[in-house]
Symmetry: C2
Subunit: 405 residues, 2 copies
Amino acid sequence: MKVAILGGDGFCGWPTTLHLSDAGHEVHILDNLSRRWIDTELGVQSLTPMDSIQERCRIWRETTGRTIHFHLLDLADEYERLKSWLSEHRPDAIVHLAEQRAAPYSMKTDRHKVYTVRNNTNATHNLLAAMVETGIDAHLVHLGTMGVYGYSSVGAPIPEGYLDVEIDTPSGKKAQEILYPTRPGSVYHMTKSLDQILFQFYAQNDGLRITDLHQGIVWGTNTDQTLRDPQLVNRFDYDGDYGTVLNRFLIQAAIGYPLTVHGSGGQTRAFIHIRDSVRCIELALGDAPKSGDRVKIFNQMTETHRVRDLAEMIAGQTGARVAYLPNPRKEAAENDLIVRNDQFLALGLEPTTLAEGLMSEVVDVARKFAHRIDRTRVPAVSGWTRELGAKVDRDPEGKSLRSAS
Amino acid sequence: MKVAILGGDGFCGWPTTLHLSDAGHEVHILDNLSRRWIDTELGVQSLTPMDSIQERCRIWRETTGRTIHFHLLDLADEYERLKSWLSEHRPDAIVHLAEQRAAPYSMKTDRHKVYTVRNNTNATHNLLAAMVETGIDAHLVHLGTMGVYGYSSVGAPIPEGYLDVEIDTPSGKKAQEILYPTRPGSVYHMTKSLDQILFQFYAQNDGLRITDLHQGIVWGTNTDQTLRDPQLVNRFDYDGDYGTVLNRFLIQAAIGYPLTVHGSGGQTRAFIHIRDSVRCIELALGDAPKSGDRVKIFNQMTETHRVRDLAEMIAGQTGARVAYLPNPRKEAAENDLIVRNDQFLALGLEPTTLAEGLMSEVVDVARKFAHRIDRTRVPAVSGWTRELGAKVDRDPEGKSLRSAS
């Protein structure tokens, strides 16, 4: 089938693109390359040396004989071009990964908050309006986040998107199924909560077929496809804004930097390997809802861990020390997290576990490219409020962070 | 106190401005005058002859000696100017009415959908981000809509914003209070559902003090203040996009046009007179939440009626006939609606009822300005989907709507 991958140049987008191309689909990347611009803004770069998108597509064609089409397009700002593109190419499916995806970046300054809401909300809504207007019957698969649920558990496992509740009425208790009450913890997460409302409306009013994937924290770097050539390597972020917690621990261990745990480390989070993330997107594509159905929601995660347990595990395997630092985020210090992911397991997902995948990441990625690391970019400094940001004033080695940057 | 009224040139904004100025507050209007531009776009005008905002402010000063400050500013597009303005003027309260407010307009074409989401969401979020960044401690009062609740009643009265539910957990049933599950019926209503999530986040993360008013359909034209001079008159919209149902019936009756009921007229809606709307905003301003409180939500309505009952009542009083037309909206044909509004009643609101206010509207407004009506602008033609729009092909007098415009 013909698949448009919006944000196909990003961390999840690139391996998804290769995976679907490898499976024989006609793949089109639509991307404004904003993630590369943000690298420039922040003065950071992927740990892994990353070629231009045009060059990556060329290498893939040389290696496999398969073509990936690249279209430079800004989803949030170029509504008319988006509509023309959809109208001309009429894809069978659209994978929407074109949102600013880092919570710390979204909380960095007011400019970053404004950018994140403007980019993410307008991108998603432009896409929905253009799908209706062009009358294409594409299945939309969107990457959401586990963060829409919030992390103050009600003491029951988190269901896949919808919650059964009972309401008091004059004629007795009445059972009802509702969208899980959202409680996002950052501006980034909030945009995914907004997306849910957009999806609900367009599925109901226009019969759009939509799947929303509530993804956990992604770890790992490569998939079978990105390993086919060194120049196909996926990006790997280790900086305080874009690096996800587990990848940051791995890199910190590789360069003898303390593993930075913010707060008590009692935060429990859901995780998934990039290999499984890509596979889940493929499974979701093959399991489309019908027009008129409600939005189909999957929890896209495979295991949950407490942050401090992860740090201690990696410390144990590598000899790194763990540094407990002030938490720049406004969040519960400790939480439990039990998540249902029955749907993907039923569709045949076989998870890559942390236990089996971890050391290959340390050896094949983190140590291999350790010479490219800029230690000054490792601390996480974006505060959720001005007061919380001010508490993070020293790096784990004791150096002031205020004079730097 | 110093109050900023965002959207102070609009239908609710202008009488709110006068009411608060009359009460002795220092009032600043911030408005991009978009509603006047939309009049131009649609080729419609207020039934009542409406002067420029500058002229209206001048008349008010001549009449009362009080000054209303006007600032031309686009909330959605001029973030930096908004921030500078807040930082310089540091208002004690902000009344946010600066959103595109017509459901039919929001569904007119894809361009109108995109505009409505872009304008409303960016406006609200820019305001929240700027309030945090400037560190002002203003109470934000926002005009929302009853439409966020949706109209498929669960059989219990609609509470004020929050719903008590019970959830099954492994250790038994657990009671929880949640934001009422939203089910907006148009792109316009959807933007108010998005606003709710923005408010929840900023109240929680930054301690902003926020009140959200879930308003019913406003009817009526004038308040004590707008009656002080003919040039202070409020706007009155009767066209198919901006005219609200009851005001449209009044105008139709005044010019001998059939009262247009779309569908069975079994839709039950909540109503409030503009006089009470303005008074509610004042009451809400005087009842601010504390920093750290959740968003305070009021239902701002005073009575509920079935649309066909309203039509029959006005037909009975005026001799007009009722025309039942295809419904261009996607909505339940019939619904019950019982709404709680205890909070405003407790604060002393004394509602203007339909029974007492209706005939003065017909005589003092509708008949008085009937010569200004363009009959071709009366039909409601914006369809919720292309199919629904196509069904509305004749006006109630039998003339084709397709050849017109």
